[in-house]
């Protein structure tokens, strides 16, 4: 193996040595990649709500409304992060387990896990491994409910990147799982959630 390493590094050096000069790293400011706002918003929460919907996710901040949504989707049994369970136990007519059992992969119709942050400019939910109680619980059910603390909403993508720390697996979720592989027709819910809900905890 080490010989392949050496071969690659010496080939790179041999390729680059003859260059008379090398391109400098461009200086660029974060504002460069921040996109035009899609309207006027009084708070990041309001902007996030708008952008979640734009990205085909759903916004929710009321337990009653969430219970109604789940019932309307015929989704009354699911998985919930044990630390969030006390909050969501009050959902009327909804039951869940707090330990993900792989044998029930097709029985859990919703999963509730913590979001580490949300990005207002893009309607993105940020999941970090350190905050996610079960990767399967956030991925396999038809409906994923990401519980976002209002104070964890950031304005832009660069601010979300600032919060990466040393987490080994961070996922930006911007909308439900989707494909347009068959004739360019958009279908939601391929391998992951068909419905992505951002639930704001004030």
């Amino acid at each position: 193996m080490s010989s392949d390493r050496e071969k690659i590094f010496s080939a790179i050096r041999a390729a680059l040595d003859p260059l008379p000069k090398r391109t400098a790293k461009p200086e660029w400011k974060r504002e460069l990649i921040v996109c035009n706002p899609s309207g006027e918003f009084s708070s990041l929460k309001e902007q996030l709500a708008d952008k979640l919907v734009f990205a085909s996710s759903r916004y929710c901040d009321s337990f009653d409304q969430l219970a109604e949504t789940l019932k309307a989707e015929n989704s009354t049994f699911g998985y919930c992060d044990p630390e969030l369970a006390p909050l969501f136990e009050k959902l009327d007519g909804i039951t869940f387990e707090t330990e993900y059992d792989v044998a029930k992969v097709n029985e859990y119709t919703f999963g509730i896990t913590k979001a580490s942050a949300a990005i207002a400019e893009s309607g993105t939910i940020v999941l970090k491994d350190g905050d996610t109680s079960s990767r399967m619980g956030a991925l396999t059910p038809w409906i994923h409910i990401a519980a976002i603390k209002e104070s964890d909403i950031v304005a832009t993508i660069p601010e979300a990147i600032d919060r990466f720390g040393d987490d080994p697996s961070i996922v930006f979720c911007t909308g439900p799982s989707k494909t347009a592989d068959v004739e360019g027709i958009l279908i939601e819910g391929v391998h992951g959630p068909g419905i992505q809900i951002g639930f704001i905890l004030s």
């Binding site: 460069l32 996109c35 990767r135 592989d181 819910g189």
Partner: protein
């Protein structure tokens, strides 16, 4: 059409159905790209130019950044491997599987594994390999190849897919795209759970933090890394960018450029095995950095092509690709990027693909839409020159001999004489000139009336 070039022959023989699927798919994505970038940025070109410079800088300091990436991954607890060529790359994957006692693999989309034909290799070694991207899964059951970097089955329609699903025992014939997707969901879900290793590519690598970045819409790469205990990321050495913050620049461009999405649905940043308290996911992460002739490209005068982030925007906008489709390029990478990259990655098989750089009208649209601003038309010209110098037969097919023209153009007196005689062209039936190119060209067009020859006189007498 009299052309003998392979790409023209493929384009000529496409069925109307496939031609239309390719054309409409490409046009739709181009329009979405344009709308998304225009809506979100006052000056999208500034992003493209900056991203191009960041990647060019990284490539021109690749020894430093590759070493940094290696150290970062090791610090994160991932094991780093290097593979100089195709054979070592494939063997490295096999060895990792054997080392962990793995028999079946689920994999997400990776153009590099197409380059390596990894799937067939592992199957020959007795391993089960399942493609999990919906398009790639359909290609796998059809034993077909992708015709587009981002939308691999753009050449197929729902009826063909429904027949394949019926043949594979995934249910009775049903060509509703939603039903097709649901059936794939159920079928592949079990495959994820049964497999013991997940393999992904990488869209980007951050040297600073030792993270690979995966960009998918379906979430299949997430599933590969939730249900399995070992993760292999197989990565071309050109995928590196310096820092995590640089990733923001590229992620904002790749979704908008490829499909017109603000961000692709899932952007995953993977820097090592799962955390100890996390119940699901890989306990081992292996990163394989593959060269497979990339350093040859780096040494060539076409090194800018290594900036490519595989968004497919140049395919979608290209008037040639829209007519020919991806398979006409006879290689893993189609379209304008493929016309540059495929012959270069072919090594001593360059002459076989030397016609691809000619599959362009040099209109420049590929450069204009490129999120990393690759001067593709310039690179195509450099490769045409290389093909000519090397006397590559494939490139010469259907090309008229221009020696007389060259002599005329380089001798001022001859040129002058030719111009004064130009008017005689208006009095002879040019369609009868017994030159194959001239005849072919005039088969679909009429030569306009010659009205030149007066400029020198005017220039000399002007006041």
């Amino acid at each position: 059409m009299k052309s003998k070039q392979k790409i023209d022959l493929v384009a000529r023989d496409l069925t109307n159905e496939v031609h239309e699927a390719n054309f409409i798919g490409a046009k739709m994505k181009s329009e979405r790209r344009y709308a998304a970038l225009g809506r979100d940025y006052a000056d999208p070109d500034k992003l493209r130019e900056t991203a191009g410079l960041v990647k060019q800088h990284t490539l021109e300091h690749l020894d430093k950044y590759l070493e940094q990436a290696e150290a970062s991954f090791e610090r994160n607890g991932a094991k780093v491997h290097f593979a100089f060529d195709e054979d070592t790359a494939k063997k490295t994957v096999l060895n990792i599987m054997n080392e962990h006692g793995c028999k079946s693999m689920v994999k997400s989309k990776s153009m590099l594994t197409e380059e390596l034909e990894l799937l067939h290799y592992l199957e020959d070694q007795g391993k089960e390999v399942i493609e999990t991207d919906l398009g790639e899964f359909i290609l796998q059951i059809d034993n077909d190849h992708p015709s587009h970097i981002v939308t691999p089955i753009v050449h197929k329609n729902r009826r063909g897919i429904a027949k394949s699903f019926e043949r594979e025992g995934l249910g009775d014939y049903n060509d509703d795209p939603e039903t097709i997707t649901r059936r794939a969901r159920a079928h592949l879900r079990q495959k994820y759970l049964d497999a013991d290793i997940g393999l992904t590519g990488a869209n980007f690598v951050s040297a600073e933090s030792g993270r690979i970045v995966l960009v998918t819409n379906e979430g299949n790469a997430r599933f590969c890394m939730a249900a399995n205990k070992v993760h292999i990321a197989i990565v071309g050495i050109e995928k590196i960018v310096p820092t995590d913050q640089d990733l923001g620049l590229f992620l904002n461009l790749i979704g908008r450029s490829g499909t017109g999405q603000q961000l692709t649905v899932y952007n995953q940043f993977i820097g090592g095995p799962k955390l100890k308290d996390q119940p699901n996911g890989p306990e081992h992460m292996h990163v394989i950095f593959v060269d497979n002739r990339r350093t040859e490209v780096l040494a060539s005068d076409c090194r800018e092509i290594l900036r490519c982030i595989r968004c497919g925007a140049c395919l979608n906008v290209c008037p040639i690709y829209r007519q020919s489709g991806g398979h006409a390029y006879r290689s893993v990478y189609p379209g304008p990027v493929g016309a540059v990259l495929s012959p270069l990655l072919a090594g001593n098989r360059f002459p076989e693909l030397a016609d691809l750089p000619k599959a362009s009208s040099l209109c420049g649209a590929c450069n204009e839409v490129c999120p990393v601003n690759i001067p593709i038309p310039d690179l195509l010209l450099r490769l045409r020159d290389k093909a000519k110098r090397e006397g590559a037969k494939e490139a010469m097919k259907g090309t008229p001999n221009l020696a007389m023209w060259a002599t005329m153009c380089s001798q001022p007196t001859m040129w002058k004489a030719a111009l004064t005689m130009g008017h005689t062209m208006n009095h002879i039936p040019t369609q009868l000139i017994p030159h194959p190119s001239a005849m072919s060209w005039q088969g679909t067009r009429k030569l306009p009336k010659f009205e030149g020859g007066e400029f020198r006189k005017w220039f000399k007498n002007r006041k």
